[in-house]
Symmetry: C2
Subunit: 372 residues, 2 copies
């Protein structure tokens, strides 16, 4: 279906952030893109922004190669099945952030699984709607595709080529494996951040002032949109519940160990089993953390780092980066720590170990106060 | 006791990272510092590094104003009480990261609570021992003091002046309030990061590749030292257990809601109560997160931000910071996102809203690709 001597024709249903961004990205790569949306205003806005043509194709238009369903998840399966009936030769893909339930619903509703490829572009913004769309939204992001045993190979090839044309890196997974993976790497972290942040509501102002970088990192995503996340957790309920119950079991073991210690006295030699429970969980956390890929999916590189004391005056952090650049050193990562009650911050600068000595020397010469 | 016409005399028991760093910092401010350690080698090293004089004072030396007990937490109370007997007019403070249990043990062992002020300098490094000590370890960090009703006011004044002399910002809290605060803002986040990271052990390599910035932030501290954290959690067992049980209750509510949704069908209109449970927890997380102080303990400033696409070549990130500096803009915060499978990263640059437009213009002129 990509062998026609004409551009690939893509029809996008749903012209919100994801649909309109996909339209812009595909048009930029020479695809012929048309649009539709339940809201004529939204569709017109997306068209005006360059996301695709209006009106959409007539029903039964056999020249449509691919339909991208970019609607809210709760209507996705219905729209997929309807699109397959309207465009009898087109391959259909979707962009919902959970995948198993969509496949099941498409099958239940009599959809054609050979012409359906589930998809999940892992990109988004804080803002929604076509007005926030951009052609490079997917650049450098992962786009998961979840074909089933019934998916036609050429259908997967077509969807893959379109996803890659947007600048995304395609990862192929089973629908169930996708849902379990995002439950663990996305949905559970959101829940953990949320319940840790909830505890801060009950603290005094003075107690909250003891918050350091650790709790800031752990709770950063607790600021996420509650309405959106309710939908996401509801949509992936079985997989989220499975991983959540594993976490609850771990925490109950920990709580039991802490209770034994509180009862037997923490500074006595008793409760060795309780200590072992705590230590084993911390070690498992070390091991799990070590599996997170570093830059570009490779194993994490061991960087060297130096902590620099940065006066809180306009331009000081900029001056630091100027000086790092002037030293000819490539900054690999950076962590800023805002000191409580002091007129400066601490910047931890990560570089390759081979250039750390040179950087320390160079920054010291330029008058920076360092903690090596 | 600070009205003598001579330097304040401080004796430090325990010459590890914290003890030796305190010695260096206090000597730099004109305090007369002596040292002791169970290990003569460690004490000699600390002396050679400039942390204080050897040998320590003779027993009953009435010229010692302040004793700082910087030993491991499990012997702290014993050492505090012994120090009060050896130096009958000295005020004694400690540096253990949990405080209620130390006060209780000092009282049980017949210590003089009028002359005891519990302390917790919230500073540390990945490395331990006098060899890692530095005079500015406490600069810009919080040093919590936990006097009791029985603490003499002049004892608190003396310990406060010494803590502030190290460059730390002193916060006064009750011992119990301190322990509850660190349970919530430090110990619970560590546990959450640990149990979320543990789940990654069971995932396939492909599934782990879906890890984005959220899970990276939530699990960063899961890489912490398991042995050290076992001691910390054991030492604060009652307070940690209390906050942990609150979290378990929240997670059980969530799990029940997810089970109801999985049973009733997530895309049906059923289970409205289940959705409300999930939404309410996410909203509580939003509210708790909003309580974390921003820079310098003030309310968080609303920064503007722009995402810059940074090619992964030596010097590119340095070049970006040079260009930000050249634009005359003060960088307030920065977040780096390492794209999977792509030869570049995304840098989110946070600045004051008033200069964002100028920065965008300036970076665009210099050829940077931006997501505004």
């Amino acid at each position: 279906m990509t062998t026609h001597d004409r551009p690939t024709r893509v029809h996008i249903i749903g012209s919100g952030l994801i649909g309109a961004s996909a339209g812009m990205a595909l048009r930029a790569k020479g695809f012929a893109v048309s649009l539709e949306d339940m809201s004529p205003t939204s569709a017109a806005l997306a068209r005006d922004l360059g996301a695709g043509d209006l009106p959409g194709p007539p029903d039964a238009d056999a020249s449509i190669d691919l339909v991208v369903v970019a609607t809210p998840p709760d209507v996705t399966a219905d729209v997929v099945v309807a699109a397959q009936r309207r465009f009898p030769v087109a391959v259909v893909t979707d962009v919902a952030s959970v995948k198993r339930i969509i496949v099941d619903e498409v099958a239940e509703r009599g959809g054609d699984l050979a012409r359906f490829v589930g998809g999940h572009p892992m990109a988004g913004r804080e803002r929604s709607g076509a007005i926030s769309a951009r052609a490079d939204l997917f650049t450098g992001r992962t786009w998961v595709l979840t074909p089933t045993d019934e998916t036609a190979p050429e259908a997967l090839t077509l969807v893959r080529s379109a996803a890659e044309a947007t600048g995304a890196a395609v990862v192929v997974l089973g629908a169930g494996e996708h849902d379990e993976a995002v439950a663990a790497v996305s949905h559970l972290p959101q829940i953990a951040a949320t319940v840790v942040a909830s505890r801060l509501e009950e603290l005094s102002d003075t107690a909250v002032e003891l918050a350091g970088q650790g709790v800031r990192d752990v709770t950063r995503i607790a600021a996420s949109d509650a309405g959106l996340w309710t939908q996401i957790l509801v949509g992936n309920a079985p997989a989220v519940r499975a991983v959540l119950d594993d976490v609850i079991a771990d925490l109950q073991d920990l709580s039991g160990a802490l209770a034994a210690i509180a009862r037997d006295g923490s500074h006595d030699l008793g409760a060795p089993g309780a200590r072992a429970v705590i230590a084993a969980q911390l070690v498992a956390g070390n091991a799990g953390h070590a599996r997170i890929p570093g830059k570009h999916g490779q194993a994490p590189t061991a960087y060297g780092s130096v902590i620099v004391l940065v006066p809180d005056e306009p331009g000081q952090l900029g001056r630091l980066f100027n000086d790092v650049g002037d030293a000819g050193v490539n900054l690999e990562d950076l962590r800023l720590d805002h000191a409580h009650g002091r007129p400066f911050g601490l910047a931890e600068v990560f570089v390759l170990p081979s250039v750390l000595g040179h950087l320390v020397e160079s920054l010291t010469e330029r008058g920076w106060r360092l903690h090596v």
